[in-house]
Symmetry: C2
Subunit: 355 residues, 2 copies
């Protein structure tokens, strides 16, 4: 990563900090933001100088294309602090590359590494007090880009704003997660934007998820929209199935986000000599495995929760309860991945990057 | 329509008008906005009083869910002025109902009629100088709603903003439109949000459309994502095919927007004793008709352009040119519909509503 550009970042420091008012033991995910944010504007072909300034609302035109045509993408990553007070990122180049892939799919400009990476590092340096030590503590990083260009004609904007905001996070425990397998609704399609971290994808999930919630399920396992026969993602996470001591997860595609946690878990599982098969996972084989007792675990994988074990699922109005294992792979992999991220275990993969 | 609530609208008038600086003979669609806009905020279950105030940028939090999770919907409609200086809307209840359908699909609150309709009428009264007489002139109306609630957790917001902005428009002539039939990309899926006027849908179209532009085509005819065998929409319009003197258009579905222009053209064509069949239109039958000379016309239908004739299309790298007819149905229907909208022809359908 180049760091030539940090001198080019304009810094306007906040006059005071909000940190003393924050209860770090009692954080709700994504609600509190740090003192500063990064802004970088794109005007008709040129990225301007990034600015770090106090976190605050900003002015935007009512006709900005983000409001009308949904040009908006984001990333989600975390910073961790080790026992030496050093701050670490986890595979940040994966998020950077995915961000620019999302940008391309939404006809938005790619963000230079000097803005995304150096801007993020500078912002984290300024906010390092907000990264707390200890397994489970992290500073959630939200880079995003919106179309600020005005005009209510359906065409890509000429003006964009890239921003980074930061939110302190605690280990994410979402309770007992029951899911429902999607038989009708879908979050993505072939030829669509499901593989992009595009804002519009999430807006599509809320209503079906609300219906699932009303039926007592926390999340939906999304299936392919054309046949609803393949299991693709769980809520806003990738999804793994453990059947007969083999882990199965779908290959990434146009419909599936190429998750950093997913690919890290695959590598980690292989290192642990766990059988992993990346191939389409069919609803019918998982139902059969649940019925003949070979389905051992189902879990989601994503940056926010790392690993999210699922206790049961519903399909065609029938509920399938998963066994309660003494040593689930889900928790073992979560522990091992978290230990690498927090610099407690040796990072044999070279995934961690010091700020 | 109730109009009980107009007294409840707070009005802050602009100190001056921008209208004198506008060249109404040379308008680019969607670039200029009138002096005022309407804002109505929704806070945790309650719609506040609508406010009409000078058009201007507004403040919004960087973590507003519209930026991250794409909760954003809109409508597009027009106001017309007749020779008596009266201002008319065209089937506004259709847009109102569709707006609330979109809201529901995106887990957003429905907007009361007193806010949407009475707010729009009040705003149009104030801006009536911006509606110019004459066929082709109109004031484009853009109601929209965004999630203003903060927080980077993927869940529906608790705060929303409904707005109406207005933009003067000239008859929309888009030049010779050549289209390409989608063989890979898609704008909508079964179980998705294609039937909602959701911002995210449009962001998905830009990149494929850019690729089409680079190949010399202005728009894409979208096909069903699962099989790409059915012709569904053209760009951001519904689409009609005239084969052997019958008009064909796809039935609305979860993948297709229920366009007001489309349904009005169907009624108008029936009144003119034109055969209309609403049923899935297959790519292969249109190709066969193009090859055997029975394909007479293809046109898009939507509020902005009313009717947009297509001169040719490409499929599997072959280009099919449409015949140049002396009296195309497309232009005849456009003329008749425009005449109703502008109160030049008798509105036998009861579609027009006076402000
Ligand atoms: C739709 C979707 N799938 C999967 C993931 C997991 O990706 P990652 O592990 O990179 O966080 C995310 C993001 O968290 C997501 O939004
Ligand atoms: C995707 C899409 N299809 C069709 C239409 C046409 O709808 P209407 O005739 O109501 O403008 C629109 C909006 O203009 C649209 O955005």
């Amino acid at each position: 990563m180049s760091n030539n550009a940090t001198e080019d970042i304009v810094i306007n420091r906040a006059e005071s900090t909000k940190i003393d008012a924050v209860n770090f033991d009692n954080l709700v995910f994504g609600e509190i933001f740090t003192d500063h944010m990064l802004i970088c504007d794109y005007k008709q072909g040129v990225w301007e100088k990034p600015i770090i300034q106090p976190y605050a609302p900003f002015l935007i035109d009512p006709s900005a294309k983000v409001f009308h045509y949904g040009q908006a993408i984001f990333e989600g990553m975390k910073a961790y602090k080790d026992d030496n007070e050093d701050v670490w990122l986890f595979r940040p180049e994966e998020n950077y590359n995915r961000f620019n892939k999302s940008a391309k799919r939404l006809a938005m400009p790619e963000v230079p590494e000097s803005v995304f990476m150096d801007g993020m590092k500078k912002l984290l340096e300024i906010e390092k007090e907000w990264v707390k030590k200890g397994i489970g503590n992290s500073l959630y990083i939200r880079p995003f880009m919106i179309a600020t260009g005005p005009g209510v004609i359906a065409a890509p904007a000429k003006f964009y704003r890239f921003m980074i905001i930061l939110s302190p996070a605690k280990a994410y425990y979402s309770g007992e997660v029951k899911v429902i397998i999607a038989e009708h609704f879908s979050r993505a399609a072939n030829g669509g934007i499901g593989a992009a971290k595009a804002a519009g994808n999430y807006s599509a999930q809320f209503y079906p998820t609300k219906l699932a919630n009303e039926m007592g399920f926390q999340q939906i396992i999304w299936t392919d929209d054309a046949t609803h026969s393949k299991l693709e993602e769980a809520g806003t996470m990738n999804v793994f199935f453990r059947i007969n001591d083999t882990l199965y997860t779908a290959p990434t595609s146009e419909r599936i986000l190429d998750g950093v946690t997913r690919k890290s878990l695959i590598d980690l599982a292989k290192r642990e000599n766990i059988n992993v098969e990346v191939r389409p996972v069919l609803v019918e084989e998982v139902i059969a495995a649940a019925e003949n007792g070979t389905l051992q675990e189902v879990f989601g994988a994503g940056t926010a929760a790392v690993v999210n074990p699922i206790v049961g699922f519903s399909y065609k109005e029938k509920y399938y309860e998963l066994p309660k294992l003494d040593n689930p792979i889900a928790l073992d992999l979560k522990k091992k991945l978290t230990a690498i991220q927090h610099k407690v275990a040796k990072d044999t993969f070279g995934w961690t990057v010091k700020i």
